[in-house]
């Protein structure tokens, strides 16, 4: 059975090409994936991300629970509305999922987790929540639209009720607030995203999602498919669950060291394993690759190094750069020249720091 978001018929009306995406029937593109990519880099585009799962957590000990559940520290969230990116680990330090957590009240936090991992995430969260007496409530009544690009915020703000505009305009990065949208629609507006551009992720009651989508389109926001979302996030140096990390990979090995908080006295799930791996030496590292030759780096291709083989994780043609880039996991000791085996041809690639693109432009050295 394939799930459909409330915007499914709207995508089809727009002529989207639909694909199965982790059990969801989702638009990959409405025409040209490359044009959609450029629309987000240069102006504003929107994505239906209603397949992602919103989970509300309520309880007197909800903060304690999240201190235990997440590798990043919710203690960084001091102001209501602030958000944090974190991994949720198993006891071995492997990544169960990556998520965003919003601080909405002393007894109320909201998680947004990946679509494909929904079932295992919910089972894990519920299992861990029992000891803290935290109520775990999935919110299938919400749809979610990501509006991204240099002009995204202005276009969204133009649709808000006048009394909300100034407040939402001042909303800081990685923060969220409630606002009233077109026709009085109650919105949860978060200044987060997955494209490397500024913008909002908007949670909206399902029954009003189509109206919001159409109002955004009328305001000049281009509908974009998940194809463009993938090339945008790769250029922006952001991990994709299932491709760049999974339960067999620790955050040390997935370029997510910045999300691990080894704050004193906090016993989060997976901490012991992470500390042990760090002490023993992390065997693998995730790096950025650029290919100057023609061709496309793809998931699963072998990376040849002077210290054994690695593999391409996310790899694609990068429309902003007009060449191919990739993430790869390689032996930590590897250095020097790297090559990728593309259908039997060994092609040289350059090791680079990512992100590959920032503020719509190639980063230095890419």
């Amino acid at each position: 059975m394939t799930d459909k978001t409330v915007l499914n018929a709207t995508h089809r009306e727009l002529g989207a090409r639909m694909v199965d995406f982790g059990g969801w029937d989702m638009p990959i593109s409405y025409g040209s994936q490359i044009e959609e990519h450029h629309a987000v880099r240069r102006d504003a585009g929107m994505f239906d991300v209603s397949h992602m799962t919103v989970v509300d957590l309520h309880g007197a000990r909800v903060r304690d629970f999240l201190r235990h559940l997440l590798a990043n520290s919710v203690d960084k969230l001091k102001v209501q509305g602030k958000a944090l990116y974190s991994c949720m680990l198993n006891e071995q330090g492997g990544v169960i999922d990556d998520l965003i957590v919003y601080f909405l009240g002393d007894e109320f936090f909201r998680l947004v987790v990946n679509a494909a991992t929904r079932v295992k995430d919910l089972a894990w969260i519920e299992q861990q929540a029992k000891a803290f007496n935290v109520a775990v409530q999935e919110r299938p009544d919400f749809a979610m639209i990501a509006v991204q690009g240099p002009n995204a915020r202005a276009k969204v703000i133009g649709l808000l009720h006048e009394v909300d505009r100034v407040r939402i305009e001042k909303l800081g990065r990685f923060a969220a607030a409630a606002a009233q949208g077109p026709h009085g629609v109650p919105l949860f507006v978060a200044r987060t995203g997955y494209t490397g551009e500024d913008g909002f992720e908007i949670i909206v009651p399902q029954e009003q999602a189509v109206t919001l989508w159409k109002e955004l389109a009328a305001a000049g926001v281009a509908p974009c498919g998940l194809g463009a979302r993938d090339t945008l996030r790769l250029e922006a140096g952001m991990n994709l669950y299932g491709q760049d990390m999974d339960e067999t990979v620790t955050p040390w090995e997935a370029a997510l060291t910045w999300t691990i908080s080894l704050d004193e006295g906090r016993d989060f799930i997976g901490r012991k394993a992470l500390e042990a791996q760090k002490a023993a030496g992390v065997p693998r590292t995730m790096v950025g690759l650029v290919m100057d030759e023609k061709g496309v780096l793809r998931h699963g291709q072998k990376v040849l190094t002077n210290h054994g083989d690695g593999e391409i994780l996310s790899g694609s043609f990068a429309p902003t750069l007009n060449k191919s880039v990739a993430f790869a996991r390689i032996p930590a000791a590897a250095s020097g020249d790297l090559r990728v085996d593309i259908r039997g041809r060994e092609v040289p690639v350059r090791l680079v720091k990512f992100p590959f693109v920032r503020d719509g432009k190639p980063c230095e050295g890419i």
Binding site: R17, I34, G295
Partner: protein, 131 residues
């Protein structure tokens, strides 16, 4: 969907073949195939002089999403390749049955042409594929 030229023959895997006046076989991918693949960003063509066989990958086209093997509709020797594609792979998206051709084969066994689908049969095939 653009109209399918009646002089073409097709493989089920969406390659087309056109028998030219000089007897050589020009090969490309169908408009339907380019539409399914999306924006093409790289084409790996065979070398001129290479021999190709039916059922064996002769070229690769890569869209943003994926790489796809291209089969030659007939066996034989590659006598010409479309150099334009190395700089402008999107030519296939723009004109799959014309400027976006891939390579030209001198067939070693012309009877293989009889195995191919007619334009009408191919049209029917992709119609059902969309069901």
């Amino acid at each position: 969907m653009s109209e399918i030229p009646g002089d073409l023959k097709f493989l089920k895997s969406h390659e087309w073949a056109r028998v030219e006046d000089n007897g050589l076989i020009r090969v490309g991918i169908s408009d339907h195939a380019q539409e399914q693949l999306g924006d093409l960003v790289y084409v790996e063509l065979p070398e001129v002089g290479a021999s190709v066989k039916t059922g064996v990958g002769a070229a690769t086209v890569e869209s943003v999403k994926a790489a796809s093997d291209i089969y030659s509709p007939v066996s034989g020797e590659v006598v010409e390749v479309n150099e334009i594609l190395s700089d402008k792979p999107e030519t296939i998206n723009e004109d799959a049955y014309g400027e976006g051709w891939l390579f030209v084969v001198k067939a070693s066994d012309r009877a293989e042409l009889d195995e191919l689908l007619s334009a009408d049969d191919y049209a029917e095939l992709i119609e059902h594929e969309d069901d």
